[in-house]
């Protein structure tokens, strides 16, 4: 049985599954329920200064659904905790005392003045919480007041505040990053420069969930008006994975611990984040959709998968895929793959054909010898994988690598065994060529 216990920047938890700073971690009541359900840790919903913020009294959430109302994406316009600071601190202290084996990190957001940070850090330290997470990510509401993503979008501010936190507190410090920037490496570098022990990402993405076409209001609509909210849930996972990987492989931040966030719904999602460098994962939407029980299978599934693969501890998984995250220019151009359709599995829907015919390379038949049949034309197939993507049957179409030495029917060229990429390709005007004698 694999050991799921985690030591993330000195913060220990029985498993790497933490609840993210969000409504599920706003109160002792919720957090205790989460710990009873098996969650390894929580990041308490962001604390601010008194007087507490107020929330809208209309809808705070909007959703994208599949046809059977499967929740694909969620957004929210909820602010940080709207409960008095004192109440939160008292509950945090009590919960940490009652659940010493679980990670309890406190998320913070106060104005960018050193004294404000000093004040709140002192009070949090008294709770004996395991660490702090600096909320530089919230894209709505608080950003209008110069906090949240307004800080996260300015690397200099991130570095400055992080430095204050490290200077005035003994607690481990995680900096939570916003994805609403062009290059996530810059804020991560700033966090590291400021002395952050780790970064967590992603926070939510600026979003309008839709438009109510009857009243011409963005949704969710508060009395006929809408403001952009933060997008999260399964739909954002690919964006989060990329940002996590960017930080993990950036030489400037390589090795900086990462807590991965963004659409983690299953153990597999978590394993993927971990493979790309996340030492823990944080979950919110899955819990808000299905309740805390989802952690049971996250734990069980991850453990089972690790056993199958021979991993005995979480550390062995973390970062395993990072060396394989590359830049386009280094991808092997001598790797030639062709789509192959398994005729026994093919249900003859023809989607591969029409996708290829209308939008790609005219490389799939719809008729063979007068009968409805979908076959790849190797002479035309560029191996793009679109047909695999649109095929409704799993594993019906596969990409098969061509053996070195064989001839690609499309280019009539021999498939080379040697790796060769764009940097040396003759079509590249910037190609690195051997110096002339």
């Amino acid at each position: 049985m694999a050991d799921l216990s985690t030591n993330f920047i000195g913060i220990k938890s029985p498993n790497p599954f933490w609840l993210a700073s969000a409504p599920p971690t706003d109160k002792e009541y919720n957090v205790v329920r989460a710990f009873k359900a098996g969650w390894g840790g929580v990041v308490w919903k962001t604390l601010g200064e008194d007087p507490a913020v107020v929330n809208v009294n209309g809808p705070r959430y909007g959703a994208i659904h599949g046809k059977d109302r499967q929740l694909i994406g969620l957004n929210n316009i909820e602010l940080i905790t709207d409960r008095p600071l004192e109440v939160n601190l008292r509950e945090i202290k009590q919960v940490k005392r009652d659940w010493p084996d679980r990670a309890l990190v406190v998320s913070l957001m106060v104005p960018c003045e050193e004294q404000n940070w000093i004040n709140i850090l002192k009070r949090v330290e008294e709770t004996e919480a395991d660490g702090v997470e600096l909320n530089f990510g919230c894209p709505h509401g608080m950003s209008e007041r110069g906090m949240g993503s307004a800080v996260g979008q300015v690397p200099e501010y991130i570095e400055m505040v992080t430095r204050w936190v490290k200077q005035h507190s003994r607690m481990p410090c995680i900096v939570k990053l916003t994805p609403n920037i062009t290059d996530v490496r810059k804020p991560a570098q700033a966090a590291k420069a400021g002395g952050a022990d780790a970064v967590s990402l992603i926070n939510t993405i600026n979003s309008i969930m839709g438009v109510d076409l009857d009243i011409m209001s963005p949704s969710p609509s508060v009395d006929g008006k809408g403001a952009h909210g933060g997008y999260c849930g399964p739909a954002v996972k690919p964006i989060a994975l990329n940002m996590v990987a960017e930080i993990a492989r950036d030489p400037a931040t390589h090795g900086l611990p990462i807590s991965g966030i963004g659409g983690v719904t299953t153990w597999r999602d978590a394993a993927e984040f971990m493979a790309l460098g996340a030492g823990s994962v944080q979950v919110c939407t899955a819990a808000m959709t299905y309740g805390f029980k989802v952690v049971e299978d996250m734990i069980d599934g991850l453990s089972d998968w690790m056993d199958q693969k021979g991993y005995t501890s979480v550390d062995q998984v973390v970062g395993s895929a990072v060396p394989n995250v590359s830049d386009w220019q280094y991808l092997n151009l001598n790797y030639i793959a062709k789509a192959k359709i398994d005729q026994d599995l093919c249900i003859q829907c023809g989607r591969c054909h029409i996708a290829c015919e209308d939008t790609s390379h005219q490389a799939i038949t719809n008729m063979v010898d007068g009968a409805r049949k979908f076959e790849v034309i190797d002479e035309e197939c560029v191996g793009c994988n679109l047909c695999v993507s649109v095929c409704p049957v799993e594993n019906c179409i596969t990409m098969e690598a061509m053996e070195p030495g064989s001839v690609d029917p499309r280019t009539k060229k021999v498939v080379e065994k040697e790796y060769a990429n764009w940097t040396t390709h003759p079509n590249n005007p910037m190609a690195v060529t051997e110096a002339a004698e």
């Binding site: 046809k67 059977d68 249900i347 003859q348 829907c349 023809g350 989607r351 719809n366 409704p392 049957v393």
Partner: protein, 448 residues
């Protein structure tokens, strides 16, 4: 030999009021919007979709299903009506399990086709609930007049398409109500809430169609006169005659034609007043046999048996219909042909059936006889064209009107379609297609 009662047990009101309502309620209730969305999402939007190929009216099925899934049920219905103005009825009565749904790639892959028929009904019902008229506009008047004889599916389809093209149509029907078998023949649990009549109104809403009922070819209508008074004639007169068994005792009480009884049932305001036998035997193996068997069972008959002279795989009734019969308490007895109708005091009391077998592809009686007690015996062994109604001149073959691919007869100004033509499949949907094709051909001929 089995002893049979001397007096037949035929009675009305065998069931409670609730049971009648329950038994004759909608076989497949209308999908709820969420159900429709989920079901529509199952459609793969196939390229050159097999379902569309299998539809006799070539409805663009992937397109109309996609339109349901994009919350555009009105557009969806238009896609359907474009090819099949009786899409509402076809959604209810088409044997989808042998047409579109049989070739659905999900049927092939997992044995669970997309519920195309029910989705079609979702769209068409939506449209007909929200709109009073068909989604088409008539072209400018051509001044041409066409006689359409028979207001069943073929006639309605033809009349509508002709009206769309700007022609004026007089639509004749022998009965007091239009609709043909949709009104008088379809099993009642497939068309509840007076749908057939509502659909006729919907079709006629296009305008330019004058309905004249109580006008029967061969009685108060004459083909030669129609040809001289109209620019073209479309015959969609169905099959007015009923095949007989050719047995002794067929004139006895309790020996009935299935189509007549079904018509009575469909027109009955109060099913509890409709007498039905306690023991019913149906002779035949087609849809009509199943319809009468199931409906008499639903009316409270205790023993209902379909006797068919060949094996179950040879029955014209689809597998789905056979299952429907069997789950409705009907027994299907195969390899049995009627021999004698046994009776007393002018009424039927039993039927003797002879066991059959196939020898060198030929059906033969084995001599072994089974006697089933019966208060009612229904004949459902096919209908015939009453040839004398047509007068002289229309070419016939195998008792049906011969038409070309444009549904044109041998006469220059006469087209025909529906059950009365040779090569028809006795389906509502093929009749609709006949009417549509004929209308296009007539339009082309008159526009030339």
């Amino acid at each position: 030999m089995t002893q049979t009662k001397a007096t037949p047990d035929i009675a009305a009101g065998r069931l409670s009021e609730d049971a009648y309502a329950e038994n004759f309620s909608d076989l497949h209730p209308l999908l709820e919007p969420h159900e429709a969305m989920v079901e529509a999402d199952r459609c793969y939007f196939c390229y050159d979709a097999p379902c569309m190929q299998a539809c006799p009216t070539s409805i663009d099925i992937p397109q109309f299903i996609r339109q349901i899934s994009t919350d555009n049920p009105t557009g969806s219905a238009k896609t359907i009506f474009e090819q099949n103005i009786l899409g509402g009825m076809c959604a209810r009565v088409c044997p989808t399990e042998t047409l579109c749904e049989q070739v659905c790639v999900r049927e092939v892959a997992e044995g669970k086709p997309v519920k195309i028929g029910q989705l079609q009904r979702y769209a068409t019902d939506h449209y007909m609930r929200e709109n009073d008229t068909t989604p088409f506009e008539r072209a400018a008047s051509t001044g041409k007049r066409i006689a359409v004889v028979g207001a069943g599916p073929a006639g309605l389809s033809c009349a509508h398409r002709l009206a769309v093209h700007g022609h004026d149509v007089v639509l004749f029907d022998a009965k007091e109500k239009a609709g043909g078998l949709n009104e008088f023949g379809i099993a009642s649990y497939k068309s509840v809430d007076n749908f057939a009549a509502r659909e006729v109104e919907f079709v006629l809403s296009i305008g330019g169609i004058e309905l004249k009922t109580g006008m029967r070819l061969g009685d108060n209508l004459d083909l030669a006169e129609l040809r001289s008074s109209y620019d073209a004639v479309f015959l969609s007169i169905g099959l007015g005659g009923v095949n007989a068994l050719g047995l002794d005792g067929e004139d006895k009480d309790g020996s009935l034609d299935a189509v007549d009884y079904i018509a009575d049932l469909r027109q009955a305001n109060d099913l509890s007043k409709l007498p039905v036998g306690r023991r019913v035997v149906v002779i035949g193996g087609g849809m009509t046999a199943v319809d009468i068997a199931v409906q008499t069972s639903l009316l409270g008959a205790e023993d209902v048996t379909i006797a068919y002279r060949r094996g179950q795989d040879r029955m014209n009734a689809s597998e789905y219909e056979q299952h429907l019969a069997q789950t409705s308490g009907v027994k299907i007895m195969t390899w049995a042909q009627p021999k004698t109708l046994v009776g007393a005091n002018g009424s039927i009391t039993a039927i003797e059936l002879e066991r059959t077998a196939e020898e060198d592809g030929r059906l033969v009686g084995t001599g072994s006889v089974v006697t089933l007690p019966a208060d009612m015996v229904f004949k459902a062994v096919g209908q015939t064209l009453v040839q004398s109604d047509l007068g002289d001149g229309v070419a016939l073959e195998k008792g049906r009107i011969v038409v070309d691919e444009n549904r044109k007869t041998n006469l220059a100004d006469v087209w025909a379609g529906g059950d009365c033509v040779l090569g028809g499949e006795d389906l509502t949907v093929t009749a609709v297609e006949d009417g549509k094709i004929a209308a296009e051909s007539i339009n082309a001929a008159l526009s030339a």
